[in-house]
């Protein structure tokens, strides 16, 4: 009974195939663009993007750059978890970019101005992200404002606000914020010996395992708890959920609060390592949140899938850094991820197509059944076995 659905019709398998097709096509388009720019080095260049840290021979150097990719994967995982969590409840949390920015502002200000310990900075960042999420949630639940529109507005509001706030803790001569490592060493997340494992890369900290643990936690909450079931039910049919006695308004707000907290935490996981500083003259919302959308959909809206797809997207983004700069620009990686998200839009169509193809094939297989029944009785027996026994 368990294996009744054919392999190609199972939802998970279809999603996986669709994602793989998106990746292959995205990389292919990237390759074609490279070919157009300069045919001679294109093959080598696309390999550089795909290889990233494998550029180095095995050893500490490779592990070190592997570590750098992981450090930047952690916030991406959090952003994509935020997107997918909300999406399961039927909300498109495009405000994840702004919630991430709010998290950056909160954790950096707490670290640089107040010298708080890392866990307090982290909670502060989560609170900031959750606050933005709560605003979107309240507007959606009580004022009927679409969360996509309020999210976009909040993205820009938080960008300008964070720029203003962090100007107080920036270096005198540059637009960048002070260095967390030297200004407030206590705010840097503990490494737990991971940095030794990754060739002495001091930025590999608690953040990496924490992101993976949270992905598992989100999976359990969504799939194995009553709370998660209620949220998913609200996403599937708001009115049915309301009818069944679930508080659909509360669920919307709680979802966006959790989504915001996840995004804010993502910011803390990156900035509390000290790997980069925030530029206070930034004029566009950082791409991390939007890449999170890519990772969530590429990962088939599954938390574990998110971890894998986030790693892949960060892998090629970092890989862009290994291109021959005299021939190609590193933005080729952004191009590939953008194309992958674009193609993710087709996944629904692709699934319907696979289902209809599968149905047709089944028709042709089952249509001549009465005639072939005598020849292969055992086969049809097993097919009808479920009812007979």
């Amino acid at each position: 009974m368990k294996n009744k659905t054919p392999l190609l019709k199972r939802d998970g398998v279809q999603s996986l195939i669709a994602s793989l097709i998106c990746v292959v096509l995205g990389v292919l388009v990237g390759y074609i663009v490279l070919l157009i720019i300069n045919p001679a080095g294109a093959g080598k260049a696309i390999m550089a993007v795909l290889k990233n840290f494998f550029f180095y021979p095995a050893g500490p150097a490779r592990m070190k750059y592997f570590g750098s990719t992981l450090v930047k994967t952690a916030p991406l995982v959090m952003c994509s978890l935020s997107i997918l969590f909300a999406y399961k409840v039927g909300l498109f949390n495009i405000g994840v970019a702004g919630q991430y920015v709010a998290g950056v502002g909160a954790c950096l200000y707490a670290a640089l101005a107040f010298h708080w310990p890392w866990w307090l900075c982290m909670i502060f960042a989560m609170a900031a992200g959750a606050l933005l999420g709560a605003i979107s949630g309240f507007l959606k639940a009580y004022a009927n404002v679409n969360e996509v529109i309020s999210g976009i507005m909040l993205n820009w509001i938080s960008l300008y606000l964070v720029n203003i706030i962090l100007t107080n803790v920036k270096e005198a001569t540059s637009p960048y914020t002070l260095k967390v490592l030297s200004t407030s060493p206590g705010s840097v997340m503990p490494s737990l010996g991971l940095s030794k494992l990754f060739g002495g890369n001091q930025y590999v900290t608690l953040g990496v395992p924490l992101a993976i643990l949270l992905a598992v936690a989100i999976y359990i909450i969504l799939e194995r708890t009553q709370f998660g079931y209620e949220l998913r039910a609200t996403g599937n049919n708001k009115n049915a959920a309301k009818y069944a006695g679930m508080k659909e308004k509360r669920n919307i707000i709680v979802t966006l609060i959790i989504g915001g907290a996840l995004a804010g935490l993502g910011a803390a996981l990156l900035y509390l390592t000290g790997i980069e500083e925030w530029s206070c003259s930034q004029s566009s919302v950082p791409g991390m949140g939007f890449n999170g959308i890519a990772a969530a959909f590429l990962g088939c809206l599954n938390p574990i899938g998110s971890v894998i797809s986030s790693f892949f997207i960060q892998h090629i983004t970092n890989g862009g850094g290994y291109l021959d700069k005299t021939l190609y620009s590193a933005q080729i990686s952004d191009l590939i991820s953008a194309i992958i998200i674009y193609l993710c839009g087709f996944v629904l169509f692709f699934k319907t197509f696979m289902n209809s193809r599968g149905a047709k094939r089944e028709d042709t297989r089952f249509a001549p059944e009465p005639k072939t029944e005598d020849k292969k009785p055992s086969d049809s027996d097993s097919r009808k076995g479920g009812d007979a026994k």
Binding site: V33, I37, N38, F92, I94, L139, A143, N144, V145, N146, V148, I149, S150, I152, M153, L154, N155, W156, I157, Y160, L161, N163, I164, T167, S283, S284, V285, G287, F290, I293, A294, F297, K325, T326, L327, Y328, S329, Q331, I332, D334, L335, S337, A338, I339, I341, Y342, C344, G345, F346, L348, F349
Partner: protein, 313 residues
């Protein structure tokens, strides 16, 4: 003061052009979140045209060719949205977001490739058009009149007439309100939505060109268009999807944007010591507040964002 007026008008032109694009698209039933990306690609088309036009070209030729190229680039790019969202029923939010990212990435890759092919030591994503840009400007006693201000005003009237007074416009709006009803009287919803998206691509592309020629004479494509596409969406919402209201909203938001550029020139504003970020932030805060109080009976097209399916009722 003249400077403030000048900046306000040019930014308002950008915003109203792009917001009108978004308005047409949404009235046909497709949410165009990719306006930001479309602007970048339109700007790229215009900038490349200015770069490659011969130095001696007359101002009229420069204006016409550049505009045509920007519009064409916007239209071609918006087909990506149309194909996926209309024919393949893709999620419009995902595709719009993808187009925004793709616009900036593609423009950067293209410009960098061109720049480094010309001069291997110049891997920047900048195009400059100092001489060509003068074609767009007429100096009236210190006020730099820009032809685009006139074009934006014409576009505004044209769109208003088209939407409310022509058969095409009314049919287009029907497709955004109730596509099944429109289809039942013989209107091709797919065609109308295609028309809506392509028109928004044209206006978005043009808006992008206007934006990169407003005040500066070189553009770094890595920066995209710094959120102007989203600001235009805010204008459209604040203008309640109506061209006349969009015009006022564009002027108001254009003024905030202009203030963030020139506030230091006013003594009383400079003495308030408000960071320019606050002026940048205000349009978004205002739209959010307006949304919060008006969304219960929103004027948004009823069927926007829902892919049209012939079979559903």
């Amino acid at each position: 003061m003249i400077l403030l007026l000048q900046y306000t008008l040019i930014f308002a032109s950008v915003l109203s052009l792009v917001a009108l694009g978004g308005c047409i698209s949404e009235h046909s039933g497709v949410i165009n979140l990719g306006l930001e990306g479309i602007m970048v690609i339109g700007a790229l088309g215009g900038a490349l045209m200015m770069k490659y036009l011969p130095a001696g070209a007359s101002p009229f030729v420069i204006i016409v060719c550049t505009i045509l190229m920007a519009v064409l680039a916007g239209v071609v790019y918006s087909t990506l949205l149309a194909v996926s969202c209309i024919n393949f029923k893709a999620d419009q939010t995902i595709v719009g977001t993808a187009l925004n990212m793709l616009g900036v990435a593609a423009a950067t890759v293209i410009v960098k490739a061109i720049n480094s092919a010309e001069n291997p030591d110049n891997p920047s994503s900048e195009i400059s058009y100092i001489a060509q840009k003068k074609a767009f400007l007429v100096n009236l006693n210190g006020f730099e009149f820009n032809w685009f201000m006139l074009i934006a005003a014409i576009a505004l009237v044209a769109v208003a007439v088209m939407l409310y007074k022509t058969r095409f416009g009314l049919r287009l709006m029907a497709c955004g309100e109730h596509p099944q009803a429109a289809a039942s009287v013989g209107i091709s919803v797919y065609k109308m939505r295609w028309a809506g998206v392509l028109l928004s691509g044209a206006l978005g592309g043009l808006g992008g060109l206007v934006y990169i020629t407003a005040g500066v004479s070189q553009w770094k494509f890595e920066n995209g268009v710094a959120g102007f596409g989203f600001l235009a969406l805010a204008v459209m919402i604040f203008g309640q999807w109506k061209p006349k209201h969009i015009a006022w909203a564009a002027i108001l938001f254009g003024m905030f944007r202009a203030l963030s550029n020139v506030y230091s020139g006013f003594d009383f504003l400079a003495s308030l010591n408000i960071p320019s970020g606050v002026y940048n932030m205000l349009p978004y805060i205002i739209s959010l507040l307006v949304l919060a109080f008006t969304s219960k009976n929103s004027k948004a097209p009823k069927a926007e964002g829902i892919p049209y399916d012939k079979g559903s009722r």
